[in-house]
């Protein structure tokens, strides 16, 4: 009856979202008076999970599962849920978890709510709060199926330490047909991704041309941040589509979002509003972004950003 959580890893190391969903699972298990089991695929050292409330780990070590495959991973998690007789299954909102979750929901005949931002407000009936309308609203949703699948929004519930003794068990699920085979992967390994980043530095049409992106990249580097952009910037080919954020691009839920030369159109704001703290740098005091931001500088990016970089470097040197 324990709560099952899928804790994602990459190259054997747990992602930050894994610790967030583990913390979430612990909160649900406490409400239900039960324990947390984590399903772990090809990550050796599971002791870290014990710090976030995981009581038991089902370890899957299988070279076939080296690369992510939605079908296979969904099947493995389903088998784990059946073995544990789990009635609540928790996944993250990463690109991969969102890919496998609908397959898992059908496999378990489970009601599924994505983008959940809080611990359940009630477990009977099982009631959760999620974002909808690209974070312009919240929806309170009830899950009435026997098995419930919850996708937890990134950076919403938080990570909580909760030290328990964790036990490991080898788990040997069957692996189904993949259906989809990876031919090649093209991935920048030296850059922080928008999905993982605590800080995102984003540039808009106000930067005027792609040659001017040096200050955005330098600011991002000083902050250990990911770079992003507004939609027209990617449509113009100044930056890759993978950097396009907003309602029709990637959602951003970072701790800090810095918008430079971005006006703050409703479609842009919708996608980045889940970020905790927003800073805008824009020449136009009437730009709508100032209404959505926490901190603002009315000024020219080409003067303000280099100063900001310099001050940050000085600040970091003191730390």
């Amino acid at each position: 009856m324990s709560v099952l959580v899928y804790t994602e890893s990459e190259q054997g190391k747990f992602k930050k979202v894994a610790l967030e969903v583990a913390s979430y699972a612990k909160a649900v298990a406490t409400q239900l008076g039960t324990t947390v089991t984590a399903i772990v695929i090809n990550a050796k050292d599971s002791s870290e999970l014990g710090n976030y409330g995981v009581d038991k780990v089902l370890q899957v070590s299988n070279p076939l599962l080296e690369n992510f495959n939605a079908n296979a991973y969904a099947s493995v998690i389903k088998q784990a849920a059946e073995k544990e007789n789990a009635k609540v299954v928790i996944v993250s909102s990463s690109i991969n978890s969102k890919y496998l979750a609908p397959l898992l929901a059908v496999g378990l005949n489970a009601g599924y709510t994505s983008n959940v931002v809080e611990a359940p407000t009630s477990t009977s009936p099982f009631t959760v709060k999620r974002t909808a309308f690209s974070s312009k609203a919240f929806e309170v949703s009830q899950l009435n199926t026997e098995i419930k699948l919850i996708g937890v929004s990134k950076n919403s519930f938080g990570v909580f330490e909760n030290s328990v003794d964790v036990s490991d068990e080898d788990f040997l699920p069957s692996v189904p047909d993949f259906g989809v085979t990876v031919k090649s992967v093209d991935k920048a390994t030296d850059k922080v991704t928008i999905a993982d980043a605590e800080i995102v530095v984003s540039g808009g049409r106000g930067l005027k041309s792609p040659e001017n992106w040096g200050i955005i990249e330098e600011l991002a580097e000083v902050l250990g941040a990911a770079t992003a952009c507004s939609k027209p910037v990617s449509d113009l080919g100044w930056r890759p589509h993978s950097e396009h954020v907003g309602q029709t691009g990637k959602p951003v839920a970072s701790n800090l979002y810095i918008a430079i030369g971005i006006s703050g159109a409703i479609q842009h704001l919708a996608g980045i509003n889940a970020s905790k703290v927003k800073v805008v740098i824009n020449t136009d005091p009437e730009a709508p972004f100032f209404k959505a931001a926490d901190y603002g500088v009315v000024g020219d990016a080409f003067e303000v950003v280099p100063k900001f970089i310099e001050k940050l470097k000085a600040f970091k040197a003191q730390q």
């Binding site: 690109i95 979750a101 690209s134 919240f138 085979t181 093209d186 920048a188 029709t248 479609q267």
Partner: protein
């Protein structure tokens, strides 16, 4: 090749989001509805398959009569026929079950849906349709090519992309990249006239049970005023971010 494009009928991205009936329903008053942007990218790619590879393209929406103008727009863009499953969607799971029935009845090779709808943001319907019809599924599709029975898809992943190969029957969760913004088509007069004569079939829903029930909506709390920092005093910005916001 038989293609079905799933069309979610959604409020225009500039819409003000309000609720009625004790905050339990989306207030459609004064709201313009459009083809979900992710579906429009997919539909545009389907037009390419029609023109270059002789594919047939149907579109489907699960919804009431109010979705018909949106389906007509898809016909005006160039789809051959439209299907409307006559029921108001309650949750992603039941919508997927309705769509799975349409997919099975029409024996489609390729079903193109969107990565997510911009209203419900469920991100679940395409994957569920794939699982229900036992088809292959590729999500976050940013490129799609078909050669005979071989399908090659580019898929966005965290920090990059991957190329995968797969086969029919196949369901796609598409997004920008499957075609570019500049490839999108605005229906012309001829398209609009022709769309009036194309078939729009209304089918009865099957009995399904929903996985989730929407109870009510809430709006985020109003935001406090912005703290302005002078461009001559960027030290203060650094200090606010460190001491007050605690984000650096």
């Amino acid at each position: 090749m038989k293609i079905l494009v799933c069309i979610s009928h959604v409020p225009d991205t500039t819409s003000k989001i309000n609720f009625t009936e004790g905050d339990s329903k989306f207030d459609t008053n004064g709201v313009q509805f459009v083809i979900n942007p992710n579906d429009e990218f997919g539909l545009t790619r389907a037009m390419w398959f029609k023109e270059k590879q002789g594919a047939s393209v149907d579109v489907v929406s699960v919804g009431g009569a109010e979705t018909e103008p949106t389906l007509r727009k898809a016909l005006a863009i160039g789809a051959d026929a439209a299907i409307r499953v006559n029921t108001i969607p309650t949750d992603g799971f039941s919508t997927a079950k309705q769509l799975a029935k349409v997919v099975e009845n029409g024996s489609y090779d390729l079903v193109i849906a969107g990565r997510e709808s911009i209203d419900y943001n469920g991100g679940m319907v395409p994957g569920m349709v794939a699982a229900l019809t036992k088809a292959n599924f590729v999500n976050n599709c940013i490129g799609l090519d078909v050669e005979g029975t071989n399908v090659t898809v580019s898929r966005e992943i965290d920090g990059g992309k991957e190329i995968v190969s797969t086969s029919f029957p196949l369901i796609i969760g598409g997004q920008k990249g499957i075609v570019e913004e500049s490839d999108l088509r605005i229906p012309n007069m001829r398209g609009i006239m022709m769309a009036r004569k194309k078939p729009l079939t209304i089918v009865d829903p099957i009995d399904t049970s929903a996985g989730t029930v929407s109870i009510k909506f809430e709006k985020p709390e109003a935001k406090g005023a912005v703290t302005l920092v002078s461009p001559d005093n960027i030290d203060e910005l650094v200090s606010l971010l460190h001491n007050e916001a605690k984000v650096i």
